[in-house]
């Protein structure tokens, strides 16, 4: 019994932390946020070189051959820096979708960075469609692959400039990939559960940043002649942020572990994680703003970047309400 990351996973974690702290400053995030398309091509190229696009993909398909826990480790670190770019849409949505559909010829170009992709469930809101060269489309019971020339992408203003949602008009028939079952929640774990678990891991990193940043601020900021961190009203909010963050970490990593091992409770564990993390991240990043006071409400402070990422992430994998209901339905003790 050991919940701790193993040595390989810890090595990957510290490598990812070091790399991202060097490469993804607030300036990098803001530059993508304010750019026409939200892209961060230099960063993306380096992530491709590190093999991150195929961390959980089998070596026979050109991946690294790790699993969902290792990918969760990297997603957490990306969340901590609010990293921009189409890593999420490509590595966390499209790659697991294509692998599960057995479309191995389409996976390679995503891993080597020659193409980027996303998944369409609802054509009115498609994650980072403006950055995609290909699209996995859930079309009723069937999944299809469409190239960029088979769709029209209409950007819409998006709350998070680093994770944008666009409308997509589908013009072509594309290539039929088979049943779309893997991309829709069921009673057993499917590719869509992996996507939700990666998103939860990213939320853990986001919460950790909000917690660290808030703790530092309340230690430094003085009011009434004392650091505001001495006040219990402030301390207790920080304590609750800690509980939310650590519990989310337990939730996200257990889900990734259960999916990696193919445990019978993997689908349940994913909904447990999503139900908890989606609400917890909203609370933690909201309290981060609250405890910063006025500065937390400014464009200048980074708190809003994380709050907006959470606002987007909260609705992507199905709502917390949906996952509470699904957890209740899948409760192994029912």
């Amino acid at each position: 019994m050991d919940f701790r990351l193993n040595e390989d996973q810890r090595t990957l974690q510290s490598a990812a932390r070091d790399f991202l702290s060097k490469e993804v400053s607030s300036t990098v995030v803001r530059s993508a946020f304010d750019s026409p398309d939200g892209d961060s091509p230099e960063l993306y190229k380096k992530m491709v070189e590190l093999g991150w696009l195929g961390l959980a993909v089998d070596e026979s398909l050109g991946g690294v051959g790790y699993g969902p826990v290792e990918q969760a480790v990297v997603c957490e670190q990306l969340g901590y820096r609010c990293a921009p770019g189409p890593f999420f849409s490509t590595a966390c949505l499209a790659v697991p979708a294509l692998v599960s559909l057995g479309a191995s010829d389409l996976v390679g170009p995503l891993l080597d960075g020659s193409k980027r992709a996303t998944v369409i469930w609802d054509p009115e809101s498609v994650v980072d469609a403006q950055l995609a060269d290909g699209f996995v489309v859930v079309d009723g019971a069937v999944a299809r692959w469409l190239d960029a020339n088979e769709v029209d992408v209409t950007p819409r203003g998006s709350v998070d400039g680093t994770r944008r949602l666009s409308s997509v008009t589908i013009k072509g028939k594309g290539r039929e990939l088979g049943s779309s079952e893997q991309l829709q929640y069921g009673d057993e774990a499917r590719a869509v559960d992996l996507m939700a678990a990666y998103l939860c891991a990213e939320l853990v990193g986001i919460m950790q940043w909000a917690l660290d940043t808030t703790v530092q601020y309340v230690k430094d900021r003085e009011a009434f002649g004392r650091p505001i961190g001495v006040f219990q009203a402030v301390q207790h909010k920080c304590a609750d942020m800690l509980v939310h963050t650590e519990t989310s970490r337990s939730a996200a990593y257990y889900a990734a572990y259960a999916l990696a091992k193919g445990l019978p409770d993997a689908a349940y564990a994913t909904s447990v994680a999503a139900a908890y993390c989606l609400d917890a991240a909203h609370s933690v990043t909201g309290e981060c703003i609250q405890l910063h006071g006025g500065i937390g409400f400014t464009w200048e402070h980074d708190a809003h970047l994380y709050f907006k990422r959470v606002t987007t992430n909260r609705v992507l994998p199905g709502s917390a309400d949906y996952h509470r209901e699904r957890a209740l339905r899948l409760d192994p003790a029912r």
Partner: protein
Amino acid sequence: MDLTWSPEEEAFRQEVRDWLTANVPTDGPAGDVEEFDDSEESFEFRRAWQRTLGEAGYLAMHWPTEYGGGGRTLVEQVIFNEEYARAKAPAPVNGLGLNLVGPTLITHGTDEQKSRFLKNILTADEIWCQGYSEPNAGSDLAGLQTKAELVGDEFVINGQKIWTTLAPFGDWIFVLCRTDPDAPKHQGISYILCDMHQPGVEVRPIRQITGTTGFGEVFFTNARTPASMLVGSLNDGWRVAMTTLMFERGGNILGTAVRYRSMMTDLRALAESTKHNGGYAIDDPVIRQRLGQLLVEVELLRHNSERAMSPLLHGEPPGPESSMGKLYWSEWYVRATELAMDILGTAGLHPGVWLTEYLGARASTIYTGTSEIQRNILAERVLGLPRGGRN
């Protein structure tokens, strides 16, 4: 990450499970909520159960064998506690002796104290009480005023303790006393053992919101105890007491997770069997959301606990998650019992298991450090925020 148990560990689990299946009494007085049943019958039932556990070698698993304990490794204790909770086995009667004063004596006691007391803790021939809280010293425990003065070769104790669990049944009490009134408040405290059967010690039961009298007040009026009943050094009692609190707060977290997971299953069954607006409560989407949230949280109590245990099982210091357990489960417990009452409606207002749990849950966010103190600990010791309005 590897959340599997070794074949040896699984074998031990099976052995424990088999024994508990065969031996956990099913005919005892209701209630594993030990603090809320004050009847003589319940007391004697749990004393007999403790002795059964002792004879089978399943008592004090965390004590070294040389003192009559199980001498079990931490991983075995964890497995045992999980199975114990799963079997819904009643708590042994002398919990404060087994979990608090026993380990403290093993760590800090003299040879004389160990040979005098440890055996009778195991056999439940002497029931122990904890003399910590006072009317004016609860969360601010170090503000305690009960005094002990060394007169000849005896301590003379004067003062009052309160919220003393099992006080009406107690034989001995470990008392935190002020032995140097001039020292700063955390210094000048001593940890002293005192016989409760003497004219200078008077116990008055306190009736709780549950209507029962499982705890009480203990008054000391020139109570006497030999100087050899001091545990640790004179005026070093705060440090000794903190070891005790660590035992109280740290132990059995996976057992707690199992216990509340089982309560969750009962709560769901309650929703499935309770009529509600022409159907059953489980059909109400609002009730379902609340059940779903509690289910999610109780699953995560388990994973938090596994995470908290992991470094300890591998000889490493605990991480931040280990300090959250008490706050997390006690607040969950309150919310779960509130939902039970909402499901039951007027049917919940009559004596019953859920009413007892609902009222009883209100103690859980207070004892062994209130939720407010738990949050202070997280903020100051884990997050490193500056210490607040206390010193």
